[in-house]
């Protein structure tokens, strides 16, 4: 037998996690490049936001290394996989947050195509200009999130994927020779980066609108899968609690799932087991699971229905200037009132009902400084 230096599951899990992170990061970078880079555009804002993306990624990576290291340390120290006991609650929570952010950002990205050049100004305004203290705490937090979306999204994505990968690799190395780990980790990282780079390049050179539509579709596919998976994780953690261990340990067959919640279960293609192979990637992009629950199927469909309704409402608002069943806005309202909200493209539905706020004078100059 040859010496095992390539743990296939490790490759797949690293590739998959890297890919998920790279999709987000590359879409963001491509978007920034499309909208802000180039002659006659806002170079400094572009650089600033690109840096935000990289800072977010880097900090996410750093934090996941620290948390992962701590967890592995705790594993050896306490002799118990503390993470494993509640793993799915964490994964589910991360997935929910990721779904939320991707959904909001996806809509924002798609609106860019329409706003075209105006977006450059708006983005700068939305992300850089507002006073954090200009409204109540809730408003302040929201604006803070908007302002640093380019930081937060890669940060949370990289953190989530990174911790997942570390925990998995740690788990594998407890049972596999350590020599089998580095090579697949590097290969997985490279493959993930490569796909991300291709996405970035492709995104940068193709027609913006097409790119945005395609990448938004991709993002929403991921988000729908994540939302469905979040529900699945919570339910699976319930099941693990009932079984009194990690149900994935019993394999892909009977006992790995709660029959009373199952919509379908096939004994192959378990994305949670040994990295899942190709199924793991299928899972990352389309939310595939070999063991669907009522919760996961319904949530997947509900998510898409919500997306469809959301876009219809947004379109309606664009055409009529107000949402269905709501009063049309007075034309003489302060024009500046909702520019900030519109600029970031976040949840149209709420905006028109919000009290108007006075925006602090813009800082076009500061951005350019």
């Amino acid at each position: 037998m040859t010496v095992n230096v390539f743990a296939v599951p490790v490759f797949f899990v690293v590739f998959r996690e890297t890919l998920e992170a790279a999709v987000i990061v590359s879409v963001l970078l491509a978007f920034l490049k499309q909208t802000l880079d180039g002659p006659n555009r806002d170079q400094s804002t572009y650089k600033k936001l690109v840096l935000q993306v990289w800072y977010g990624s880097a900090l996410g990576l750093l934090l996941c290394l620290i948390v992962g290291g701590g967890l592995i340390g705790a594993f050896y120290g306490i002799g118990k996989d503390k993470w494993g006991a509640t793993e799915y609650y964490w994964e589910g929570s991360f997935s929910l947050v990721a779904t939320l952010i991707i959904s909001i950002l996806g809509a924002a990205l798609l609106r860019v195509a329409k706003l075209q050049d105006k977006w450059r100004v708006k983005l700068a305004k939305a992300l850089e200009e507002k006073s954090v203290t200009s409204a109540g705490r809730k408003g302040a937090f929201k604006r803070w999130c908007e302002k640093y979306a380019m930081f937060l999204l890669p940060f949370i994505t990289v953190l989530r994927e990174g911790i997942e990968a570390i925990i998995f690799i740690a788990g594998v190395t407890f049972s596999a020779p350590a020599a089998a780990v580095p090579l697949p980790v590097i290969c997985g990282l490279l493959a993930g980066f490569a796909v991300g780079f291709i996405l970035y390049k492709g995104g940068s050179s193709s027609k913006l609108q097409i790119f945005l539509v395609v990448s938004t579709c991709l993002l929403y596919l991921v988000a729908a899968g994540l939302f469905s998976k979040a529900i699945w994780y919570f339910q699976q953690q319930d099941w693990n609690n009932i079984v009194g261990g990690d149900a994935a340990e019993v394999g892909a067959g009977a006992g790995s799932y709660d029959i009373d919640r199952s919509v379908w279960h096939v004994n192959y293609g378990n994305p949670e087991l040994n990295g899942g192979g190709g199924w793991g990637i299928f899972n990352a992009i389309f939310g595939w699971t070999n063991s669907a629950t009522y919760g996961s199927v319904i949530s997947y469909n509900v998510y898409w229905i919500a997306v469809i309704i959301g876009f219809i409402l947004m379109r309606y608002n664009e055409q009529k200037g107000h949402l269905p069943l709501m009063k049309a806005k007075k034309q003489d309202a302060p024009v500046m009132s909702d520019s900030s909200a519109d600029g970031s493209g976040i949840l149209e539905a709420k905006k028109n009902t919000k009290p108007t706020t006075t925006v602090t004078p813009a800082l076009g100059r500061e951005i350019s400084e």
């Binding site: 195509a113 539509v213 029959i259 009373d260 898409w304 876009f311 379109r315 024009v335 500061e366």
Partner: protein
């Protein structure tokens, strides 16, 4: 709670003498079965099933040839019961064998039933409830049948009976509901809370120097096999499961749940020390080893009451005597080649309700609506057709006088002690663990011993196989099952229907048996489903849950289709929205906004940067 048995042997000898005088006597027991409280391991007091208001239940004794009458009254209040006399052939009285819904109806609380049979065998047996996994709640005890012609009687000064058992602190009803449960998909069996020797945690046996004792050892436990060794003494095996053997020296024996072994124990000539003996539960059967589990039970041979009782020493390895090598005392030769071969694969798996079950081949046993014996008695000629007994009682019909082989392949990684009712079987093959399935075409595997060992309960090794052979010389309904009570509850049972047409001719089922059925509302005629008109119509029969679906079910396909449709529609909405133009209202608004923005910027440039400091950035 130390029990001194020193007066028992004297009693036994007296009784033996009496039995010998009175040829073919009658032994009568009145058993009122009910709940009592007991704390045998000194760790936990619980309700247990006792007899006549006491626990442990009495050891039954009789002499070969005796008629035994057991008047049973069920006073449990909340449970049915039955009694099975383990290892007795019940030749001609199959309805006295005891398994509920097989040879009789379960006895409801408040009902009475008489077990009345003659004992044509001798040796070490036991009795226990054979109803819904009930006996580990306490209703189990040894049953010794003395034999005036016992081949080693001249060597024996005294005899003792020692039972070993695992012990649970919870009642079986509650344990089973947590065991056959979807949250226990691997079927991890409940682990006992302690081990008992003669139903106590501190058993001592007073012995005298220079004597030879005959010890009847019985494992009356639910689950755990037991390794047994006596410090400083060897055992000389003379009987297993009621079959006398050539003497065989052993330092350590293994007796699984339901197995028995009698051996001669010769005491030392001096009384300078007392000796420990150990019954060690086979922990390889346990999925988990709780920290507080003491799997070794220690008893003592007391030579001198003044001296201390030593602590048992640790043993380096468990190396038990291989019962397969024993030679029956009667030297009964290998039966001729089998007329019928039954092959059973032992499988543990889950069914459609997600719970763990046990299977012979693909069938997990479920009790028929009509007890199998009553079906055999009331279906006329069709009683020879296994179909009438229902698929899930897993019936095999044998003709009288046939020689039958049972090939048992263990596709599970656990040990299983298999028990055949109504027979001793010859043990032809019993592999080590991981030997795989039996191959009858491989001559190296069919090199059967000329004088095979016989017994009624045999351990099947993990992922190994065994072959047993017996003669169908005892018409009746006989279960073949794993004697780990958990696995019985999971359905690891097959039914041997032996010479059913002979039963119809010879058997008269007592009225009190029928009364028990009537009281419980259990039908006593027709096929397994209770159909007396068309015995091949099994509509309505009891059945296990459906198997787990192997792949996508219609439900899954519909769900998948809707999910794909939702995703496609969703993406269509994205494309539609993304490719649409700006929208009239937005266009107006944007134009206004850009204008206002420019205007504001202009005005701010005029104002200067006085308010820049108010804004926090970064």
């Amino acid at each position: 709670m130390a029990i001194s048995l020193s007066h028992f042997p004297i009693l036994s000898v007296l009784l033996l003498a009496l039995y010998s005088l009175a040829e073919a006597g009658t032994v009568t027991y009145d058993f009122n079965i009910g709940w009592v409280r007991a704390n045998p391991d000194g760790l936990f007091e619980r309700t247990v099933i006792g007899i006549n208001g006491a626990w442990p239940p009495p050891t039954m004794e009789a002499t070969k040839g005796d008629r035994v009458i057991v008047n049973v009254e069920n006073s449990l209040g909340n449970q049915t019961t039955t009694l099975h006399f383990h290892g007795l052939f019940q030749n001609g009285t199959t309805y006295m064998d005891g398994p509920g819904q097989v040879t009789q109806c379960d006895i409801l609380s408040g009902q009475k039933m008489i077990y009345n049979f003659t004992v044509e065998q001798s040796g070490t047996y036991w009795y226990h409830s054979h109803d819904k996994g009930q006996y580990p709640d306490g209703i189990r005890a040894p049953f010794i049948i003395h034999d005036p012609e016992f081949p080693y009687k001249d060597q024996v000064d005294q005899e003792f009976t020692i039972s070993v058992s695992d012990w649970y602190h919870d009642e079986m009803v509650s344990l089973i509901s947590k065991f056959i449960y979807k949250g226990n998909p691997t079927g991890a069996e409940p682990v006992p809370n302690s081990g008992l020797i003669n139903d106590t945690a501190s058993f001592t046996l007073d012995v005298q120097p220079g004597k030879t004792y005959l010890v009847h050892m019985v494992n009356i436990g639910a689950f755990a096999g037991q390794y047994i060794w006596f410090e400083g003494h060897n055992m000389s095996i003379v009987e297993v499961d009621g079959v006398f053997t050539e003497e065989a020296e052993a330092e350590m024996i293994y007796i699984s749940a339901a197995q028995r072994c009698s051996f001669l124990l010769t005491t030392k000539n001096e009384t300078t020390a007392n000796y420990a003996f150990v019954a060690s539960m086979d922990t390889s059967l346990f999925d988990v080893l709780p920290d507080d589990l003491q799997w070794n039970s220690t008893g003592h041979l007391v030579y001198n009451k003044e001296l201390a009782l030593p602590t048992a020493a640790e043993v380096a390895e468990l190396n038990e005597f291989d019962d397969f090598t024993l030679v029956p005392y009667d030297k009964q030769p290998l039966f001729r080649d089998a007329d019928q071969t039954v092959q059973l694969d032992v499988i543990m798996d889950n069914l459609g309700d997600g719970k763990p079950y046990a299977f012979f081949n693909n069938i997990s046993y479920v009790s028929p609506k009509v007890p199998t014996l009553f079906t055999a008695m009331t279906t006329g000629e069709n009683a020879s057709n296994p179909e009438v007994y229902g698929e899930y009682s897993h019936p095999f019909v044998l003709d009288r006088g046939q020689v039958v082989d049972i090939i048992l392949n263990n596709l599970d990684s656990g040990k299983h002690p298999f028990h055949l009712h109504g027979h001793h079987f010859q043990t032809l093959v019993r592999t080590e663990e991981e030997a795989g399935v039996f191959d009858g075409t491989n001559s190296s595997q069919t090199n059967y011993p000329a004088i095979p060992m016989r017994r009624d309960t045999l351990v099947l090794n993990p992922n190994g196989n065994l072959v047993i052979r017996f003669r169908a010389d005892n018409p009746g309904i006989w279960l073949f099952h794993c004697h780990i009570e958990w696995h019985m509850d999971q359905g690891l049972i097959a039914t041997i229907v032996e010479a059913p047409l002979d039963l119809q001719k010879s058997l008269v089922i007592p009225d009190d048996h029928k009364a028990v059925c009537a009281a419980a509302g259990i039908p006593i005629a027709g096929n397994a489903a209770g159909n007396t008109v068309d015995v091949f119509n099994l509509k309505g029969q009891n059945h296990p849950p459906a198997p787990l679906p192997a792949g996508f079910t219609p439900r899954g396909i519909v769900a998948m289709a809707f999910s794909v449709l939702a995703a496609v529609l969703g993406m269509a909405a994205i494309v539609w929205y993304g490719l649409a133009d700006m929208g009239a209202a937005t266009k107006v608004k944007e134009e206004q906004r850009i204008a206002a923005f420019s205007a504001e910027q202009n005005s701010r440039e005029r104002q200067g940067s006085s308010d820049v400091s108010e804004t926090k950035v970064g």
